[in-house]
């Protein structure tokens, strides 16, 4: 996160003293140097949001914001899993239909066989894990390129879904708990409580780290900067919860609609967990190492095969969760679940967020931000009322425009080498 100097000496070796001013200054120089992290994705989101709000004022309503989350949830979840595979420079074309298979299992278990929801969820996730293990073994142990393995998976799983769906019929999912996942909201109070918990947790981690580092005499960010970060998070979360807790029913007499959609905390928890795994555990470190230079990782004694298998397991597991959310949102599973554009949108989300297809570079947050970009475009386009041909064209153009923001802001990325 921050800079540390081995020794201070010589004119070129001077490190900036860690004051607030120098910190801001440094950040600005890094941004100008092209090292900008999540900034372009955030700018993209802002530009898109402003653009759509101007074109269609209804875009800018609490109701639409809430829709946005549930609309983008499944793709985002799948994209989060894909980040792991992409970090290794591999690809999983089968993630979309893997989510379909898991959703089909879920529907079969809960509706056809009549088991309770948790059994169905467990079955779906286990299916995902099994799929991932098989894919991973084929890639790592047999040595087939992941593109081919997962292309085969793409075809086969499509067939499996069809078979599980009895060649074309669809299966309804009516279990209340399952339907709630993508369709109900937290109570306003619970929303506030969770937000408070998140800010508190973040503050605790940041402050502990600050104390720990300064106790050891290592360079740290100034405490004011740490406080500003915590404050920033608090403001953002507070605002989001506030807006989502507004009444958004069109007809309060019929039904009251307010609160944070249940998928939001699900995504948030997974984001925190996977970010923790990638950034703070040696397993995550090893993923980056294998993605950056598999040979170096092997020489460092890392079991490259095991890492390779594990990312496919994570990816398919997340696809299973995405499938569950999709089934919940649709109240049903049909042979197209996980098909059509789901896969490309998910990979696209990860890549737009800043994940490299060549491995070694990417974060789970990228997938969430990229997923948000994709969801905003989809949502906004839905408000424009174009005919389908025009809509496709405009969607493509808007996506390109968003990506251009990113490309131009990374233009100066003359590899500053610091993070």
């Amino acid at each position: 996160m921050t800079a540390t100097v081995v020794k201070k000496e010589g004119p070129a070796g001077v490190a900036p003293a860690p004051t607030v001013g120098s910190h801001v200054n440094n950040y600005w120089r890094r941004v100008r140097g092209g090292d900008i992290g999540a900034l372009p994705a955030v700018i993209m989101l802002l530009v898109l949001a402003v653009g759509f709000s101007i074109a269609r004022p209804s875009f800018f309503t609490a109701g639409n914001l809430a829709n946005l989350f549930t609309q983008g949830a499944a793709v985002t979840l799948i994209a989060m899993g894909l980040v792991f595979v992409l970090l290794l420079g591999e690809i999983d074309l089968s993630a979309g239909f893997a989510s379909g298979v898991c959703a089909a299992i879920l529907a079969n278990v809960v509706t056809v066989l009549g088991y309770p929801w948790y059994v169905a969820v467990l079955a779906a996730v286990v299916t995902g894990v099994v799929i991932g293990t098989v894919l991973g073994l084929l890639v790592a142990k047999v040595g087939i390129p992941s593109f081919v393995v997962t292309l085969a998976g793409f075809l086969a799983f499509q067939g499996v879904v069809l078979t599980l769906m009895d060649e074309g019929a669809n299966i309804a999912v009516r279990d209340d708990t399952l339907v709630a996942i993508a369709n109900r909201n937290l109570s306003p109070a619970l929303g506030w409580a969770l937000a408070a918990l998140a800010v508190g947790g973040y503050a605790a981690v940041q402050l502990l780290r600050h104390r720990n580092r300064s106790a050891r005499g290592l360079l740290t960010d100034p405490i004011a900067v740490v406080a500003a970060r915590i404050g920033g998070l608090a403001v953002i979360l507070g605002l989001a919860v506030y807006v989502l807790n507004l009444e958004r029913s069109r007809n309060v007499l019929v039904v009251s609609l307010k609160g944070v959609p249940i998928v939001v905390p699900i995504i948030a928890v997974l984001l925190v967990v996977w970010t923790f795994v990638l950034q703070r555990t040696s397993y995550g470190r090893h993923i980056y190492a294998v993605g950056g230079n598999a040979e170096a990782a092997r020489r460092a004694g890392i079991s490259v095969d095991r890492i390779r298998i594990s990312v496919f397991v994570i990816c398919s597991g997340m696809a299973a969760i995405g499938g569950i959310v999709a089934a919940s949102r649709a109240n049903s599973v049909d042979p197209n679940t996980g098909g059509s554009n789901v896969l490309l949108y998910a990979v696209g989300a990860a890549v737009i967020g800043g994940t490299s297809l060549f491995g070694g570079k990417g974060r789970v947050l990228d997938a969430v931000l990229g997923g948000a970009v994709v969801a905003v475009i989809d949502n906004g386009m839905g408000l424009m009322g174009y005919s389908s041909g025009v809509k496709f064209v405009v969607t493509g153009v808007v996506l390109l425009a968003a990506a251009t923001i990113d490309a131009l802001s990374r233009r100066r990325a003359a590899a500053t080498g610091t993070r």
Partner: protein, 347 residues
Amino acid sequence: ACGDNGGSSDQAGGSTDKKPKIGVILPDSKSSARWEGADRKFLKEAFDAAGVESDIQNAQNDKTAFQTIADQMITNGVNVLMIVNLDSGTGKAVLDKAKSQGVATIDYDRLTLGGSAQYYVSFDNEAVGKLQGEGLSKCLTDKGVKNPSIAYLNGSPTDNNATLFKNGYDSVLKPKFDSKEYTKVADDSVPAWDNAQAATIFEQQLTKAGGKIDGVLAANDGLGNAAISVLKKNKLNGKVPVTGQDATKEGLQNILAGDQCMTVYKAVKKEADAAAELAIALAKGEKKETGQTVKDPEGNRDVPAVLLEPKAIYKDNVKDVVADNYVTKEELCTGAFAKLCTDAGVS
């Protein structure tokens, strides 16, 4: 249930001073040309004529997009939502959500099982399939083929309509298979109604059957044309009857040329007008009687319905389609088809 919803939609209508607004979600643009080519046009004309605002969108065979569009329409403040569902599950989710927000709903062309729509306007998809089955056996009889070998070219395996069509033509042909009058030599679904794949699939059916296929039950004109292209290559076109659906320009031309035996014409304009009329009434807070009902077995209720009859088109009644203005003579009778048009009495 109808009365309750009617009431709430009144309220919704009353709370805004703006013109009433109707949202329509079409299913896709690839399974059939009708959605974007005909339905959109006719519905829009009807709505514009009545002076109501409308928002017509297409879900591109993507359930997620379907739900997103529905959310957006409700956000945008439509008073009536008219959907062609992609499957009953998502359809129901959308209808229920709309209902909970006080938006009136119509099932257009496809009934959402277990759903809550106030009206259902449709052609009967199974009836379409039946016409195709009957058409094929008529053409085979006309050609005097004995004990014909039949190949099925079904629609997309993931499309519920394809299943309904198949139920229809199976109900006609299965007895003939069972009685050994006909033989079924191939039965394949074409993923995503993809014409290019259909050509390969049919070519393989033909190879597998050793070249002996006497009749092709193609689920729509696009698939039919794919089969015809392979038949042409083997110089078998015109000898093997092929069915279709949608009365597309291409299909009608194939019929005029004698390569295709029949297609099924759905007078989309009638359907669109009927649906638009109901929707406008709902948007204005009125109630209409339809006279007919359809039983929803899953929701266990009788849905007020307008049901229209599809029509089989052979060479001799191609002119009816033109007369209906579904396809214009100029489009249809280009080049070499001018003479065929005259022969078939198209004017």
